[in-house]
């Protein structure tokens, strides 16, 4: 054993002998050259390193990322508890790394660099995340649907928890106005993450488009909620269900259809479950007739204002209210360079760089309508514009409608027909009310994710005649549907 120990190699580089000199090699000269060029090398590297280090400290730091649609980390407050738990130092690091000056531009540069990793063909497709095949195997479909629902439900639980931690009483109007711009961005981001079941970026006719893949779901919770609302409100309030598909319903390349459940079929099946309690507004079929128009944003998970117009038209038909033709609206361009959530989430350089126009349609009677904003405790924050341009429009143009996901907004129009509409919506519903200014006397808009009062009581208090549940198919089958029952009972 002792001998073997002695034999055991000692990894001591210091003990290694110098390599023998090469024959005919001017070693001394080479040594000076090595030294000299190492100094030159350092003269190049050291300034790059230290100048960057200094710049990262002295240049003002970013506080919002419009690309990621979130408020960046804040410098933490010190406490011994936080320090010893490791939270303080972790948050300091997070602050430093997260708030890099000009973060959004550096992120875009990062996307561009990553785009060189692969081959880009004429009809290229890039999958982000892990889509699950939903081929026509009923057994697999059922299993997947149940998993998808469970996943969504779990996320909804988390969301509900965080929401319930917010005390409506604590929200002063000042805080509410301060939240505008930051928290709204967060909300939009959260919603997208929740809905995501994998993403595909496709190139079609020279432009890139992000497509969310739909995992399907039973929608039983959603259907039951509609029936319960009908029971509570009675026949005096007509209930409508408008579930908008995402763009993948229309633009998914045939080879990739195996990764996405048919949203029309899903919604048709769900409509059977609430039959008699609510009117099914089949916007998926309505939009099918306009697929050659820009009905969906390519870089964002929302439909375009034009897509929302056709959906509103379909709803107006179902509700039997007058509806103004698109030609009567004033088209207002917000930006030519919109790059939305799908570009951010996919981190795909091609999609991010292939920006698009974002324009909305202002109704002719907009000036005659008044829009009021309310807090979670239904305090009136005063009158404001329905159409706003918030923050960095190149990344937040969809916040144009009501400034984003407001809790409660009420629009009084110049129409006098006694019809009062309550829209219960996710962010898809934000683009709808503007097209109904000529159809209803009053339009109340409630965000199903953030409303904290009893919705049945609210509808009664406002004298609502029509109630529209307007949301994406992802919300109808996912965790957001769980919230509907909370809205009814809370």
């Amino acid at each position: 054993m002792e001998e073997q120990r002695k034999k055991a190699p000692v990894n001591n580089s210091a003990a290694k002998k110098k390599a023998p000199r090469k024959k005919g090699f001017n070693y001394m000269k080479k040594k000076y050259v090595i030294h000299g060029f190492s100094v030159i090398s350092l003269m190049l590297m050291v300034p790059v390193f230290f100048i960057t280090a200094v710049l990262l400290v002295v240049v003002p730091r970013s506080d919002i990322s419009y690309i990621e649609k979130r408020k960046l980390a804040e410098f933490p407050e010190f406490s011994f508890d936080k320090y010893f738990s490791g939270e303080y130092t972790a948050k300091v690091t997070e602050f430093y790394d997260d708030t890099v000056p000009d973060r959004d531009n550096f992120k875009t540069m990062g996307y561009n660099f990553k785009s060189i990793f692969g081959i880009h063909t004429e009809e290229e497709v890039k999958i982000i995340g892990k889509p699950v095949s939903v081929v026509n195997d009923k057994k697999k479909d059922d299993k997947k649907n149940s998993e998808s629902s469970k996943k969504s439900d779990a996320k909804a639980d988390n969301k509900t928890t965080s929401k319930s931690e917010t005390k409506p009483e604590d929200t002063s109007s000042a805080e509410t106005s301060e939240e505008t711009g930051n928290n709204k961005i967060d909300k939009e981001h959260d919603e997208y993450i929740e809905a995501s079941n994998g993403l595909i970026v496709v190139k079609h006719e020279g432009h890139y488009r992000g497509l969310e893949l739909f995992g399907g779901g039973s929608g039983e919770t959603y259907a039951q909620a509609l029936k319960n609302f009908h029971d509570d409100l009675g026949d005096g309030v007509k209930i409508y269900s408008l579930s908008a598909s995402t763009a993948s319903q229309y633009y998914l390349p045939p080879a990739y259809e195996q990764y996405s459940v048919d949203q029309k079929e899903t919604m048709d099946e769900i409509s059977q479950l609430y039959s008699g309690a609510a009117t099914y507004v089949d916007v998926i079929s309505a939009l099918q007739n306009h697929v050659n128009e820009d009905i969906y944003l390519r870089t964002d998970h929302h439909w375009s204002p034009l897509g929302a117009y056709y959906a509103a038209q379909e709803f107006a038909k179902a509700a039997g209210v007058p509806f103004k033709d698109i030609s009567t609206y004033k088209k207002v361009k917000v930006t030519d360079n919109f790059s939305g959530t799908l570009a951010a989430w996919s981190e795909d350089a091609n999609l991010s760089n292939d920006t698009e126009e974002f324009s909305y349609y202002e109704p002719a009677n907009n000036e005659k309508c008044t829009t009021n904003y309310y807090t979670t405790s239904l305090e009136d924050c005063g009158t404001g514009n329905f159409f706003n341009q918030v923050g960095d429009v190149e990344h937040s143009a969809y916040l144009t409608f009501m400034g984003g996901d407001e809790v409660v907004v009420k629009v009084n129009t110049d129409v006098k027909n006694g019809r009062k509409l309550l829209i219960v919506k996710d962010s898809y519903g934000n683009a709808l009310p503007g097209y109904l200014f000529g159809s209803f006397e009053q339009i109340c808009v409630v965000d199903m994710r953030y409303f904290q009062r009893n919705l049945v009581q609210y509808a009664k208090d406002e004298g609502i005649t029509d109630m529209l549940f307007a949301m994406t198919t992802f919300s109808a089958v996912g965790g957001n549907a769980e919230n509907l029952e909370n809205l009814r009972t809370q």
Partner: protein, 473 residues
């Protein structure tokens, strides 16, 4: 603190380098390094930094006693005690939960499972301490008389939390007397930048693919998808870990320390034995030197010791059965190769030996990845093609093809860089060529490294949390 973060590179390292090079004497430089190392460790482990300091004290004092009692039983007893305490810390912090879970499962008991957070890097600094104690006992190195110097050895931040496992003998002289020449600083900086690039440019982006394929249930993953996922994962582990080692070696060199290599292009191996002479060399040499020859019932027993080494190698990687299987899996192939003999294996067709070794290694990384044994079972049914029959899984799928197409250059680049191509280029410019060729090579390498640093910095903006894989060990 993660090496591949802006905070480490441009804040912590910048301040440490500035403070270090302001100091003139080795003593003051050592003080800077000890303070920096303790801050570095405390940044992630504000409480367990005390454990590190205590462990250093225990082993430093034990070594002095071993030297004092040399050639007596007292020295052996002291060494045994010190190693027992070192291993006890490791077992308590790393394996207690695993042990209790298995006792509960085996005996149907319900002993509460200890919820102890494992101090980062405990596996690395514990093994460094054990190697030091044994080296002093075997009189390979003299005991360090000054606690501060020993604390520097054990806590030196470049290698503190993810290795390599540096032997005391390697840096013994450099702790007391060293110089950072411009050549050291320049080449060390380049090495560190290459390490960061391996992690940020290659490993992080390979991991996106791994997550896409293995991140969730793999029941329905196709045959080709499983192979693709595990090959990419093998590359990822190599670039992640060897990247970290490069950073450690590079930073060490900048501070005047010359650590041994931890990776020598493991994927060019022809046998599994050769693979382990090229992969995580500091760990395999540790087990070879300190455990393989250990007497079992009075004398070393070749095959028993071999499996003991591979059991421990697996166990070292994590408190989970898959790691133990992983270690023993390699142990079996090394045992078979030992039986066949090196000479016979050398006569085998080179192409076949390459295919054989890569096949075993890649499957091994599958075992390494899946800590959930049910997923590991699915991995085997998928990769063997059995799930195509039993579960109707596809042979190939669009996702695999799509991922390959979208990452073809990244994967191809990773494969090329995992071969000794860079070494050949370096040899041409820095060893073989004349002074002009050297000058061109040096300036070219500097510019490339500056560009890589800028690219990595941009990519690090997007990496809010990307710990190295070996942090968990």
């Amino acid at each position: 603190m993660v090496f591949s973060s802006l905070f480490f590179v441009y804040f912590f390292l910048a301040i440490t380098l500035a403070a270090y090079f302001i100091c003139k004497t080795t003593k003051s430089k050592n003080i800077v390094l000890v303070i920096a190392s303790l801050v570095f460790y405390a940044w992630g482990e504000p409480i367990w930094v005390g454990l590190l300091i205590f462990s250093a004290f225990l082993n430093w004092k034990s070594a002095l006693l071993i030297q004092k009692f040399k050639n007596t039983k007292a020295a052996t007893v002291t060494a045994g005690l010190a190693i027992t305490i070192d291993l006890a810390f490791l077992i308590v912090f790393k394996y207690s939960g695993f042990i209790v879970e298995n006792i509960n499962a085996l005996l149907h008991t319900s002993i509460p499972v200890p919820q102890i957070t494992m101090p980062i890097g405990i596996s690395f600094f514990t093994f460094q301490a054990i190697s030091y104690i044994l080296d002093v006992l075997w009189e390979t190195v003299p005991a360090q008389k000054k606690y501060g110097r020993f604390l520097l050895y054990l806590s030196l931040f470049p290698q503190l939390i993810a290795g390599p496992i540096v032997r005391y003998s390697v840096i013994e002289k450099e702790i007391t007397d060293r110089r950072s020449t411009p050549v050291d600083i320049s080449e060390g900086a380049m090495r560190a930048i290459i390490g960061i690039s391996k992690k940020v440019i290659i490993a992080n982006n390979l991991y996106v693919i791994v997550e896409q394929f293995f991140g969730t249930d793999i029941s329905n993953l196709s045959f080709l998808g499983t192979w693709y996922g595990v090959i990419v994962y093998s590359l990822y582990v190599y670039f992640d870990f060897s990247g970290y080692s490069d950073i450690a070696i590079g930073l060490g060199r900048m501070f005047g320390f010359h650590f041994n290599e931890n990776f020598k292009y493991p994927f060019i191996c022809k046998t599994i034995s050769e693979f382990w002479q090229r992969w995580h060399i500091s760990l395999s040499s540790f087990f070879r030197d300190y455990l393989f020859y250990a007497p079992i019932f009075g004398r070393p027993r070749k095959y028993f010791n071999l499996f003991l080494v591979w059991f421990c190698t697996g166990m070292w990687h994590g408190a989970s059965w898959n790691f133990i299987f992983w270690g023993l899996y390699f142990g079996i192939f090394i045992f078979i190769e030992t039986l066949i003999g090196k000479k016979r294996m050398k006569k085998w067709n080179k192409v076949l030996t390459h295919i054989y070794s890569k096949f075993i290694i890649v499957i091994g990384f599958g075992i390494f990845y899946f800590t959930d044994l049910s997923q590991l079972g699915k991995f085997f049914t998928n990769i063997s093609g059995v799930s195509m029959i039993t579960n109707g899984n596809a042979f190939g799928d669009l996702m695999t093809w799509n991922s390959l197409l979208n990452n073809i250059f990244l994967i191809a680049f990773a494969i090329i860089v995992s071969m000794p191509v860079l070494d050949k280029i370096k040899y041409f410019f820095f060893k073989w060529g004349n002074n002009t060729v050297y000058a061109v090579g040096k300036i070219g390498a500097t510019l490339i490294c500056c560009s890589l640093l800028i690219i990595c910095s941009i990519l690090m903006v997007d990496n809010t949390n990307n710990p190295f894989l070996y942090f968990r060990f």
